[in-house]
């Protein structure tokens, strides 16, 4: 119940923002623009879902932007292998990209859990490893010329809703179910709240920590496929700073950086707030510099609001 209330507050903030832009910026509510916003938030949303798992256990993953590039170039290399049918190429590329993400995520989780290291440091290492690996395997070249049907899928719409966004939404649904309706999910919250209590109850912390990071890695792999379908290129320099946007979506969505509190529904709303802000401020005619400045203010406001909420729910 408390959780629902938290999400409702963020939902109201999003609605107010939408209302503001609807009244002040031309074309904001046009069907085309809404499709645009949904497309524009998709990649960040997928990354933020994974980030929610990691932050809920009190961790952080700084490597997702670099991992996105690594997954994309591995997937893109497979996708451009000659003499494969489109179906074979796309399936193999998906397996390769998701597998790469899962492997990086597994390493993040395993290394930080096994040696009891802060994930901040371990994923900082992975940030460089994945970027270096992406540059190494491509020799820093951009991969392009993907199958036309794969490319078309990236801009496919169903009643004006991008298919890639529907995929992200389905992932939100799955993540919500796992986090709130399964023992596994509740234990992740438990680890974020009180690691010692979970350990004393006889659960292996290591497995759950590894699982959270691996899930984040799998989602990076999926985001990489979406990226390639959307932009028709895979370059080793994509995704710089994407981890910060994903973390921002999670934090604006009301998930506590210290772990144990929050929800993936909040993350969905957080990603929407960032996307609506970015789009609305351009339509509003504001410069790019102001747009970035305002997004920063919103992140800080979200954390301050969270502080008050914490006090109220604790009382």
């Amino acid at each position: 119940m408390k959780l629902l209330l938290r999400d409702a507050g963020i939902g109201i903030a999003l609605l107010l923002l939408i209302l503001f832009f609807a009244l002040t910026a031309d074309h904001f509510l046009s069907p085309n623009n809404i499709s645009n916003i949904l497309t524009q938030i998709t990649i960040n949303l997928i990354l933020a879902i994974g980030m929610t798992f990691v932050i809920l256990i009190g961790g952080i993953d700084l490597s997702v932007g670099s991992m996105l590039a690594f997954c994309a170039v591995v997937g893109g290399s497979v996708l451009t292998i000659p003499d494969l049918s489109v179906f074979q190429a796309v399936s193999l590329a998906t397996v390769a990209a998701v597998g790469t993400g899962a492997l990086c995520g597994f390493l993040n989780g395993w290394i930080s859990a096994f040696w009891g290291l802060p994930s901040f440091i371990v994923t900082l290492g992975m940030l460089n490893i994945a970027r270096g690996a992406a540059l190494q395997v491509t020799d820093a070249r951009t991969i392009y010329s993907f199958p036309p049907s794969f490319n078309a899928f990236g801009s496919q719409m169903i009643y004006g809703v991008p298919v890639v966004f529907l995929i992200a939404l389905a992932l939100v649904g799955i993540a919500w179910f796992v986090l709130s309706r399964t023992v596994f999910g509740r234990l992740l919250y438990g680890i974020g709240n009180n690691e010692e209590a979970v350990r004393l109850a006889g659960h292996s912390l290591m497995i759950y920590k590894i699982a959270a990071f691996t899930i984040a890695g799998v989602l990076v792999g999926i985001a990489a496929i979406v990226y390639m379908a959307r932009l028709n290129i895979a370059s080793p320099i994509i995704g710089i700073g994407f981890e910060l946007n994903a973390i921002a979506a999670v934090i604006i969505g009301g998930t506590s950086l210290s772990g144990g509190r929050g929800s993936v529904i909040g993350t969905l709303l957080g990603a929407c707030i960032i996307g609506v802000l970015a789009n609305g401020l351009i339509l509003f005619g504001l410069s790019d510099f102001m747009r970035q400045l305002i997004t920063g203010v919103v992140i800080i406001l979200a954390v301050i609001v969270d502080k008050y909420r914490e006090r109220i729910t604790a009382a």
């Binding site: 046009s30 524009q40 820093a140 392009y144 990236g154 959307r230 932009l231 320099i237």
Partner: protein
């Protein structure tokens, strides 16, 4: 055990370090400083320079690049390392027109021949630092005007256009924007909006989609590099707008299919692979006792259209 390991590491280090020192003694060393090596443009440039070094054979090439277009720090460190190593010449495409002035001044004071190519250093910043340095490079403004003129010709007077700019603060971004604006004025086009997408594909895709919402009547787009033109063209595909014409800049290999399909009206080739080699030739001439370079040594530029890729 530990000692023997240390010894073997030391031998390894010595083995890798010694040959460079030995070579440095008889051939001039040229330090080539480039921008993002993950951009095809600089990648081609590096390969051109490596082939050139092999062909000439009378100098040693040391090349460094950056992680991404905005990673000024590593360029700065690269220049400082070259000064420490005592190279004979530094040939540099500065990441920022102002930030690189001070370290290059230091290099010149250390007796190193410096050639500035690709992006010109800021005139005022050079003056403030008391630096007198020639520029070897293309006319970015003129090149952008060529692309803009091609767009203006295709659209006719009154055509509604937008500009997608490069990094704010970079001189070539500013020059290309000016060139596009020259074309707008000359072709009597109607400029609706102009925004940066920091040279990046994904950002250009998002920014342009939103511009298209604000101005559905856009007829033409001028992108300050091809990476951003690719993002714009994807946004047009997604919106089902085949009526909008796009021009880019750089002529990277990723846009060849787009030129062929007519999705990209034109781009500009500034022969990046030759540019570094040309600048190296000029640097070596000065190192060998030739006269100091002065002013602006212009390099070739060419408009590339569908006809050139067929």
């Amino acid at each position: 055990m530990k000692l023997s390991k240390l010894a073997s590491v030391l031998t390894l280090v010595a083995a890798t370090a010694l040959p460079t020192i030995a070579v440095a003694a008889d051939k001039p060393v040229v330090g080539l400083v480039m921008k993002s090596l993950a951009n095809d443009f600089f990648k081609n440039m590096l390969e051109g320079a490596e082939a050139h070094a092999k062909k000439r054979g009378d100098y040693e090439l040391k090349a460094i690049g950056m992680q991404n277009e905005t990673d000024f720090e590593s360029q700065l460190n690269g220049v400082e390392n070259f000064i420490t190593q005592g190279v004979d010449a530094i040939v540099i495409a500065p990441a920022d027109s102002r930030a690189m002035v001070a370290p290059l001044k230091k290099a010149i004071d250390a007796g190193i021949t410096v050639v500035n190519f690709d992006v010109s250093l800021d005139e005022q910043a050079k003056k403030d630092a008391g630096l007198d340095l020639a520029f070897v490079g293309p006319d970015n403004r003129g090149g952008a005007k060529l692309a803009g003129d091609a767009l203006a010709k295709a659209l006719g007077e009154g055509g509604k256009v937008v500009i997608i700019e490069g990094n704010p603060g970079a001189d070539n971004a500013a020059q290309r924007k000016l060139g596009f604006e020259d074309a707008v004025a000359a072709g009597k086009l109607n400029l609706l909006d102009s925004r940066t997408a920091h040279w990046e594909t994904e950002e250009a895709n998002s920014v342009f989609s939103t511009m298209l919402t604000a101005h559905p009547d856009i007829q033409g787009v001028m992108a300050a590099n091809d990476s951003m033109a690719i993002g714009v063209i994807k946004a047009l595909d997604a919106a089902g707008r085949s009526d909008i014409k796009v021009v880019g800049f750089d002529n990277v290999s990723a846009v060849q299919p787009l030129l062929k399909d007519g999705k990209l009206l034109a781009t500009v080739d500034q022969f990046g692979s030759q540019m570094a080699s040309d600048a190296i030739d000029k640097a070596l001439a000065v190192v060998g006792g030739g006269p100091k370079l002065e002013g602006w040594v212009k390099t070739d530029i060419k408009l590339v259209t569908t006809d050139d890729v067929k």
